[in-house]
């Protein structure tokens, strides 16, 4: 098995043996979404209008919550040092860690979203579009988030700093994804939003692993 697949397998194995790292962000996502009907209004017409925004903001915050642990443990125990001096490509090793992060945070969010969509009175077609936007854009959240996580990995109590660095970069994703679901609710086409989300994914896929690798080398000094 090549080292990149081994890295993914290792991260998944660690997560299975320490499930709180996966369950906590997911629970946060579910609880955050469920609080809105209590705070705003339980009426179907009100909730269905803002459902996409609620689910998308909650999923972003949930991913953000999990980003702190993306590199932290491996930085503390010295595994990242060994990765940095390995003759394998550090950006690809970073990409492997990002893929495992997406499997552990993005996929559970996608799978949980239909249930939350139903709670917020989204119609079935809009739920499909919501899942599609999550499928297309949660990898971008992990990719972009890895840049911030690698920059702050050596700084103690840096959760707030990570939010300040990363949340502004998430804004385009939030706009296009929430807009796609709203458009679907009114029966309009969503091609434009999907193209933009796809473009963001391609750009982050091409750049984020390299920037993360450079940031990590700086953090290791």
């Amino acid at each position: 098995m090549n080292i990149y697949l081994q890295t993914i397998k290792r991260d998944l194995r660690i997560a299975i043996r320490n499930p709180s790292s996966v369950i906590n962000p997911l629970l946060f996502f579910v609880i955050a979404v469920s609080l809105f009907p209590l705070a705003i209004s339980p009426e179907a017409s009100t909730l269905s209008q803002i459902a996409a925004g609620i689910i998308w903001v909650s999923s972003m915050l949930s991913v953000l919550l999990s980003l702190n642990s993306l590199f932290h443990n491996d930085f503390e125990n010295g595994v990242l040092e060994q990765m940095a001096i390995s003759h394998h490509s550090l950006p690809l090793l970073m990409l492997s860690k990002i893929v495992s992060h997406w499997i552990l945070t993005g996929i559970p969010i996608i799978l949980m979203s239909p249930l939350l969509g139903v709670i917020l009175f989204l119609d079935s077609e809009s739920i499909w579009v919501l899942m599609l936007t999550l499928l297309l854009a949660t990898p971008s959240l992990s990719l972009i988030g890895s840049i911030g996580a690698s920059l702050i990995v050596g700084i103690k109590n840096s959760g707030m700093l990570l939010s300040l660095l990363i949340l502004p970069l998430y804004i385009p994703i939030l706009i296009f994804a929430a807009s796609a679901v709203s458009q679907a609710q009114f029966g309009f086409g969503i091609d434009l939003q999907m193209y933009f989300l796809g473009a963001i994914l391609v750009i982050s896929l091409m750049t984020a692993p390299f920037i993360s690798a450079i940031s990590l080398k700086i953090s290791l000094e």
Partner: protein
Amino acid sequence: MSKLIVTDLCCQRGYNQLFSDLSFEVSSTNILRITGTNGSGKTSLLKILAGLNTSEHGTVSLNEFDVNSNEYQQQIFYLGHSQALSSELSVIENLEFLLSLNKPIDKERLNVAIDRIGLKGYRDEYCSKLSAGQKRRVILAGLFISSAKVWLLDEPFTALDGDGIKIVENIIQKHCDDGGMCLFTTHQDSSLSGQKVLAL
């Protein structure tokens, strides 16, 4: 014959100049023990030699390959202060992954290495259950498998008991007798024969 050449190395951390104009050569079969007081730059020097840190000026090369080249990195085995072990993984799972970062691993050799470092019976034990000395032994088991020419070991004897120190000294001696070279830092006495000392 391999030769590690360090020329005019200068290292600064914050406002402190740790060392400057440091030049030395280490050839195959040489053992270099790096000594110095706390904060004198021993770890920083090893990290520069491993390519993890950058120096203010100066060069490091191995057989004319620069420290940042792939050819250089392939010849380095670096062991830092931290154990590089995940507490959720077993001894064998940790070693399999860490050593695969350098080259594909033969599982049979890995098992032999674990036995020889004195961890027979602990192969499938989670690293969170091991003592500090046993954790150090886990990562040092990599020395039995490494085919790198240059070993950079930062405080390899820390937390080890007398037997552990003897095992590690023997493997370092064998590596250097076989044409490798080893640079290590330690605050303890070492009985390695033919070692040179670099005081920072």
